[in-house]
Symmetry: C2
Amino acid sequence: MVTSLSEKGPFPLSPEAAEGGALLHDAVYAELRWRLITGKIMPGVGLSTRGLAAELGVSPMPVREALGRLAAEGAVEIRSKRRILVPEMTADRFDDLLRCRLLLEPEAARQAQPHLGPEALRRLRVIDGRLDRCLSNGDVTGYMEANFQFHFTLYAAPGGAILRRLIETLWLQFGPFMRVVYGRFGTHTLQDQHERALAALQAGDAEGVAQAISADIADGMGLIGRHALS
Amino acid sequence: MVTSLSEKGPFPLSPEAAEGGALLHDAVYAELRWRLITGKIMPGVGLSTRGLAAELGVSPMPVREALGRLAAEGAVEIRSKRRILVPEMTADRFDDLLRCRLLLEPEAARQAQPHLGPEALRRLRVIDGRLDRCLSNGDVTGYMEANFQFHFTLYAAPGGAILRRLIETLWLQFGPFMRVVYGRFGTHTLQDQHERALAALQAGDAEGVAQAISADIADGMGLIGRHALS
DNA sequence: GACAGGCATCTGGGATCACTGTTCACCAGC
DNA sequence: GCTGGTGAACAGTGATCCCAGATGCCTGTC
């Protein structure tokens, strides 16, 4: 298998996976990351290297390596042999993740604010518009993709790469769970604080942006997620 | 090679590596993590899967997987083919790491304080005593091991696993650099804030613990590290 | 009919092999 | 003597193979 990748665009190459570079295991890693963040993989489902390899049209080796990386980040759990799965969410882990988000993301937004010019603001508005359309249409996957892009476009700042990376590992862990939650309760109940963040951004109010993001996380993830767990 | 691991205690099994479990690549991963955190691997040196495999007495396969995981955490850099190395520190990356530490670790200490009883306090004092002895003796490696144990014993709290994991990722990245810095400037200049943290801990003052950790990071890593980079 | 034990199958972990791209060194030419 | 090109060695990547362990089903016995 010289891999279908080079000839026909192998597995549905997601935006994230596209920048994966020439290395096969990097592409697989990026693809799986994207699937987890956008909740395309359900919690509790077992993943098999052979199965994923067949699905993606690659050999089991790059898949194994990608799963190993994800395991190091806590996104998948290698439970003994024969069982490698996306961990189920528990109330404790949820609270832990939520605390970390509330600690990291407002700070990331605060640090990024001075570097976000009109061009970034315009892009954020475009993403937010797509996000709202997905909410109206009940397109959960589209919403999660747009929400990811909104937050990480907002956090883009020179010198924030390490913080962004930490935040990404958090998103990897709650993506599958939140997908289930949104799927169960629908998207119409979601009320994000993005407008507030954009207004503060336009005003050059870093503290306001941070507070908006904090509220966005507490509302969008905290309330509905904890409700689903109870 | 049924691996020397099972019979004679293979490669110098560090405290961290011991809990690695039965899986070979987990043991290698833990071993390399420990070496990075304690600065036993210098920045800029090339690592080769084959070389490490020979050194550790295992086949290149588990080493490859371990290096892949470390690459995902930013602890090693896979620069093209034929070159996989511990990245050199830059001023920007250092500032980024320092900001993240100052964001995460005081909060981890604050969250852990209510869960730290007299027993934990006693263990922290033992570790701090060993740490001070290492400082007097100029034992840089021993100091870094003790310092790691002090901080992560302090951060131990139920429901803080994810935060601790994030912090470990940071330690992986500055360990090799700080080892060089300490080696160059000696350990006698180091003045940690551990006593202050222990006093606040004994008084049940969570905010005081957090401030002491904040000062400890700013002094022990911030000042000396930035001085070394200038 | 239910439970226990054994067997078949499946899956992950490790080893080995083949290939490719990179790097370094040596040699030739200017 | 220096520079540029070429070739050889080397190291990472991906594929295939093999083994051990776990899961699940089937059968036999109580």
